[in-house]
Symmetry: C2
Subunit: 395 residues, 2 copies
């Protein structure tokens, strides 16, 4: 039995750099970027007008007087040019600032009039030279690094990739994952269970959780039969990069998985972690870089192990270091790290508060509905006070 | 110009109950459930053994002595039966508790021995009658409501749907969404822009944000030409349930959208919201239940309006009422609600803290990379102190 931190370390150490592939931009959300992305131009690429109005030249002189409208520049037109310093160019948001101007005044601060067949604008409000212009390169210089390889691609990253002209992008190839439930008491979801049977749920849940991070998976089920497990897992190991098994790793008489996996040449990295739920967790690797997670079969244990170990292994651990404040005292005597199912909320003082969920422990999957994540109460203590802050593992 | 709360109210009031459809369980994540889901059996459906060990009968009598192992019951087998109160049944996790037993003792608390050809177990540690049994119906009674129509389906909900035997599920049909950018300065992502042009990014970003909530969308682009807009939007309105337009809704000379949309029979619900960014937002509906959002074209404005109005319209608003604590003083003078781009983190006291992001305002999309969401600073004030708590709109 090893401590939680050591188990996580071993899991992360077993990661290898996956192959890369080129995917169309629309398929990028949720994928991990495999190349650095630099600005192909300055951002913005020109002095950009940010208000509809007029562009003119202002220096120290009085801002009174009328400016003759010489021309209009729309967004999408090449840069115009101001001919006379007593004139102005009407400009639209997104247009290039006309040459010879340095300030934009919005319509709301202007009065227009007509004289001698020309349009004139006069200023109604105080004007600050340089205003309402988004300067070339103000956000980013040409060539500057915008996105680093390893970044998870969300919608803001998609905006950047579009802006620099990337209809396709190099991302890390998603692993091929096979989810395998074991347990003779389990029947499939379209079957009617006998009184002593229950339907399989964990592999469906894991498949959904993987889908949420953009990873497709196969779902299989195997009976508690050592030879049958050996033959089927041999095939799945050939076909997939990662096996995630549920059940069959405790001390029971039909818990064949640890023995079968070692017979298959999977090197055990650890078996049993000093945690509740999820103590029987088994993790191993093969010489050709495949990984096998054998998760305990109780639904809450299965899901905790997925969140804490499998998801970071896949490069989708939580962003930042989430924490939450315990809402009430908790006593926990076993000498184990306690991942306590909680529902979190924000209180009026802006605190992120975790409320412990009562329940029947790792068997009570219905509790997961209210649950927003797990609060990680450290090993070596038994008494955890209301108001204390602990690491939080969100769904 | 209307206040933010009123705008959101009008948007939500325009929602109608969508049609439903049946989808396979694996496609459910991210969808909205359209039926109530009840427990088809008690949860658990039988008195379930939660540890590998032995099951025996304990009442007030001494717990000393040896128990003869009569039989073994595995998970997936029909309930066994204890023949004699001086005996025990070996049981595996997940098995049905044998008739005539009321307590399970795990292997770790047992010593085994052989006498006269039989196996006996004696108790090493104190035993609490009733322990290590997950009682039938302890989590949920048969027939009890597990999931309500309207629930967003995440992976825990998938586990429930699997458990009650639902290979397919009634969900609300996703709307057909068309994203349309406008603006003559915009070229497509595979083109090389001229110096006065930029590439389109907002529709790609919105498409990615919609994909993250499971909604597919078409992407179109139209030039700033009133007749061309009229003809194309007429077609898109026929083909889709929701149009999301970007650009062309300000006071500029080519901002044709409000006029074109009203010519197309789209009833304006509002134009302009007392907010920054995103003031020019336009929203309208048709007699046959379609919705049109015309979002301002600056990338940060576009995204704020999407998060604040469009996403809740689609039934995917934030869960709960997230808030965050302002990390430093902010002065904001305009008489508008200020959706300030921030990066949030949790501090050591468990507080959710929002750090304002400097930048060039609504044009600086590169700022979105650091940004985790917007802090909503209310209208009618100009000075916001460090330590104050405000509503937070996460990405």
């Amino acid at each position: 039995m090893i401590p939680v931190a050591e188990a996580l370390e071993k899991v992360l150490a077993a990661r290898s750099v996956p192959a890369t592939e080129s995917v169309p931009l629309y398929q990028c959300p949720g994928r991990i970027l495999a190349e650095d992305i630099a600005a192909d131009r300055a951002f913005p690429p020109f002095d950009r007008v940010t208000m509809d109005g007029i562009a003119l030249w202002l220096d120290g002189r009085a801002e009174e007087g009328m400016y003759r409208i010489e021309a209009t520049t729309y967004a999408g037109e090449p840069a115009g040019k101001l001919a006379s310093r007593s004139g102005a160019v009407e400009v639209m948001t997104g247009a290039v600032l006309p040459e010879g101007t340095n300030t934009v005044v919005r319509y709301e601060d202007l009065a227009f009039s007509e004289h001698f067949g020309s349009r004139f604008a006069s200023l109604k409000a105080g004007v600050v030279p340089g205003q309402n212009i988004h300067r070339k390169g103000e956000d980013r210089a040409e060539g500057s690094l915008l996105l680093k390889a390893g970044t998870r691609i969300g919608s803001p990253e998609v905006a950047i990739l579009a802006t620099v002209g990337r209809p396709s992008v190099q991302v890390y190839r998603n692993p091929s994952v096979c989810l395998v439930s074991t347990g003779d008491e389990l029947v499939d979801i379209h079957e009617t269970p006998l009184p002593h049977q229950i339907r399989r749920s964990s592999t469906y849940q894991l498949s959904a959780a993987l889908r949420e991070i953009g990873i497709k998976s196969d779902i299989q089920h195997l009976r508690d039969d050592a030879d049958g497990l050996f033959r089927a897992l041999q095939t799945y190991l050939r076909q997939h990069d990662i096996l995630i098994l549920t059940g069959g790793v405790s001390a029971g008489k039909k818990d064949y998985l640890p023995e079968v996996l070692e017979r298959l040449g999977v090197t055990r990295q650890f078996h049993q972690v000093a945690q509740r739920p999820g103590k029987p967790l088994w993790f191993g690797t093969t010489a050709d870089g495949k990984a096998v997670f054998a998760l305990p079969g109780n639904p809450v244990s299965t899901f905790l192990c997925f969140l804490k170990y499998v998801r970071p292994f896949l490069g989708h651990g939580p962003k930042g270091k989430p924490v939450a404040t315990l809402s009430e005292q908790v006593i926990f005597k076993p000498d184990l790290t306690y991942f306590m199912p909680v529902a979190t909320y924000y209180n009026e003082e802006g605190r992120h508060v975790a409320r412990p969920l009562k329940g029947s422990g790792s068997g009570d999957f219905a509790n997961l509905l209210e649950c927003t994540g797990f609060l990680e109460l450290p090993v070596g203590r038994t008494d955890f006070a209301a108001g204390e802050v602990f690491p939080y593992l969100p769904f």
